[in-house]
């Protein structure tokens, strides 16, 4: 009994952790369960089970188009954000660059500016420049948001890189470009993969920026939002479940990859 009492704080911590986990997982579980329900309305009990909603979703042209569009935007965002992020990280880690702290702060600003403020300002910005809303504007907005994550991940990795690896490559006959391609990039690979997957996930997930910058073609979150406004249905649950499973798989893979490369 004494032992039990002395561990009270620990027990309380563990209990609150499990409360948190249930709070996190229960809604997701409910959502997934409902996607298998053979009825048009969302409520317990689930009488008959079905995979029909999934069959409907994967045949839904709108859903497939929106998914493809989201993935396209995510890939473009990733390409631009990775190039810019790596470039900024290299700039910050280079010696003799004036105002490194300021460069870093500006590069990271988009990560802390609220999404809504960011989205509104971007909307005003593209109107001033006469850029039409739509694909280009969305990619622009997503890229600005994704760059800080690439910068931080690449910079962390870059700081753990021994200085003389590049010296050694140069010594063995590589010019600075070859040394960058053959030594720096492979060394950064885990951070690059991690950062790129992060870019993809944030881009696919983004609603606010897309909403303000998008044109008539809906991305996946916008499509789901539009459908929800027309009333909840198990079909939406099936869509959301598919998105959840794919993103979770990609996220877990990224975590696994970066963890393995770190050792």
């Amino acid at each position: 009994m004494r032992h039990y009492f002395s561990d009270a704080p620990k027990t309380a911590l563990q209990a609150s952790y499990w409360v948190f986990v249930i709070y996190l997982l229960l809604p997701l579980t409910l959502m997934m369960a409902m996607s298998f329900k053979d009825a048009n309305f969302i409520a317990f009990p689930i009488g008959d089970w079905t995979l029909g909603w999934y069959a409907k979703v994967v045949q839904d042209k709108q859903f497939l188009e929106a998914s493809g569009y989201s993935i396209f935007i995510a890939l473009m965002t990733t390409i631009f954000a990775t190039i810019m992020g790596v470039w900024i990280a290299l700039l910050i880690s280079a010696e003799g660059i004036w105002g490194r702290a300021a460069i870093f702060a500006f590069a990271c600003l988009p990560a802390v500016v609220p999404g809504l403020i960011n989205a509104i300002s971007m909307r005003i910005f593209i109107r001033v420049l006469d850029i039409p809303t739509g694909t280009g504007a969305i990619i622009l907005g997503h890229t600005v948001h994704a760059v800080p994550f690439v910068v931080i991940m690449v910079l962390t990795r870059l700081r753990s890189m021994p200085n003389n690896l590049i010296d050694a490559a140069r010594d063995l006959g590589a010019d600075s470009f070859i040394a960058f391609i053959r030594i720096t990039i492979p060394f950064l690979a885990p951070a690059l993969v991690g950062g790129m997957i992060f870019c993809v996930l944030t881009s696919i997930d983004d609603f606010v920026r897309t909403f303000f910058l998008g044109g008539y073609q809906p991305t996946l979150p916008m499509l789901i939002f539009a459908k929800v406004q027309g009333g909840m249905s198990p079909e939406i649950n099936a869509m959301a479940t598919l998105v959840l499973i794919v993103t979770a798989a990609v996220g877990l893979y990224a975590e696994h990859f970066t963890r393995r490369s770190r050792t």
Binding site: D167, A168, D171, L172, G173, A174
Partner: protein
């Protein structure tokens, strides 16, 4: 013979601090040359200038008669082994060694053949497909050495490559480095602050201090005929006794010290009669007697410390004038000494007179 490496009036400043001060140095091909000195003496800067990682503030560096002072590292036919090896962590042992050969654009069979030859030279063929992280310190060291030798450089630079190894392994690697240098016949320029390492391996030692060369010569000359107090102190251990120069005769200096005249080798030095001079005396050159010797000059003293070093014992003997002299005795000589009251003496030619 044309020197393979030549520094002419090379200076290197970092802001206002001098790293290398008006360096003139010629290195003959095929030699094992060591740049020796305390940290901050300019030895590493000298090596990095030769490798192309630093640019001289003024002066020229020649490699095989060609000026290379301002060429980037990839345009110089020298390769370097770094202190922490700098192996590429994402490449296997084989790919690390092949790196320089691949950049030369050689055929892949040629690269493979040469890589395996080099690895077998250090008995690492079986480790060819391992990653650097899976190797021990000594193995990494050998891979780094072979990677630097692979492109067949005129001169191999080694920047304190043994300092990360434990004592036993370091001794093995000293022998191995020396034998690789002899089999390849290449010029090795080795940087270290460890005088024992320098004495063991080098054909020529360049002792550096504050960006300048203090003395350059073969290990034996440097040890037995140091030209300055710094060298006498840095290479091996020395006792110093200070006195006034009374006269010189036949290569020997007569110095007044402790109420007697002692003699020491002049070593070609031009010392002013009447000036203060120091006499450097190696601990192993000091003889210790249990009783006052008859025909030799000897000084009475008391043993204040005995340090057992295994194969020898180090005695500290304090003279009446307060001077402490360290003597190194082998077990046979030590067995003669039973009392703390002793007499010390030395052969005149073992003592070296130096400007104080």
């Amino acid at each position: 013979m044309q020197p393979v490496v030549q520094f002419r009036n090379v200076n290197k400043y970092y802001g206002s601090s001098v790293a290398v001060d008006n360096l003139d140095l010629s290195i003959e091909p095929g030699q094992f040359v060591t740049l020796l000195g305390p940290s901050g003496c300019g030895k590493s800067t000298t090596l990095r200038m030769l490798g192309g990682f630093e640019t001289p503030t003024s002066g020229e560096i020649y490699l095989d008669g060609k000026e290379i002072s301002r060429l980037p590292p990839n345009k110089r036919n020298v390769n370097i082994v770094f202190q922490d090896y700098a192996l590429f962590p994402h490449l296997s042992v084989r790919r690390n060694v092949a790196f320089g050969l691949e950049l030369k654009g050689l055929a892949s069979e040629t690269i493979h053949k040469r890589t395996m030859e080099l690895l077998s030279l250090v008995r690492l063929q079986e480790f060819a497909d391992r990653m650097p992280a899976q190797l021990s310190g000594g193995q990494r060291q050998r891979v780094a050495l072979m990677r630097a030798l692979a492109p067949n450089p005129n001169v191999l630079l080694l920047d304190e490559p043994l300092s990360a190894l434990d004592a036993k392994l370091r001794q093995q690697m000293q022998v191995e480095l020396k034998s690789i240098q002899q089999t390849t016949g290449k010029t090795f320029i080795f940087v270290t602050h460890d005088q024992e390492e320098a004495l063991t391996m080098s054909d020529v030692i360049v002792v550096m201090n504050s960006g300048r060369i203090e003395q350059m010569g073969d290990p034996h000359t440097l040890y037995s005929r140091p030209r300055s107090r710094f060298v006498a102190n840095f290479i091996g251990e020395s006792n110093f006794i200070e006195g006034t120069l009374k006269g010189t005769k036949g290569g020997l200096a007569a110095i007044e010290w402790n109420g007697s005249i002692v003699h020491a080798g002049l070593n070609g030095h031009d010392l002013q009669i009447g000036s203060r001079v120091a006499v450097a005396l190696r601990p192993e050159a000091v003889s210790v007697f249990a009783s006052k010797p008859v025909e030799k000059l000897a000084f009475e003293g008391r043993i204040t410390q005995r340090l057992f070093k295994g194969d020898h014992t180090s005695l500290t003997i304090e003279l009446p004038n307060g001077q402490a002299i360290v003597a190194q005795l082998d077990p046979v000589a030590l067995s003669q000494i039973t009392d703390d009251r002793v007499w010390i003496g030395w052969r005149e030619e073992d003592a070296v007179a130096l400007a104080d």
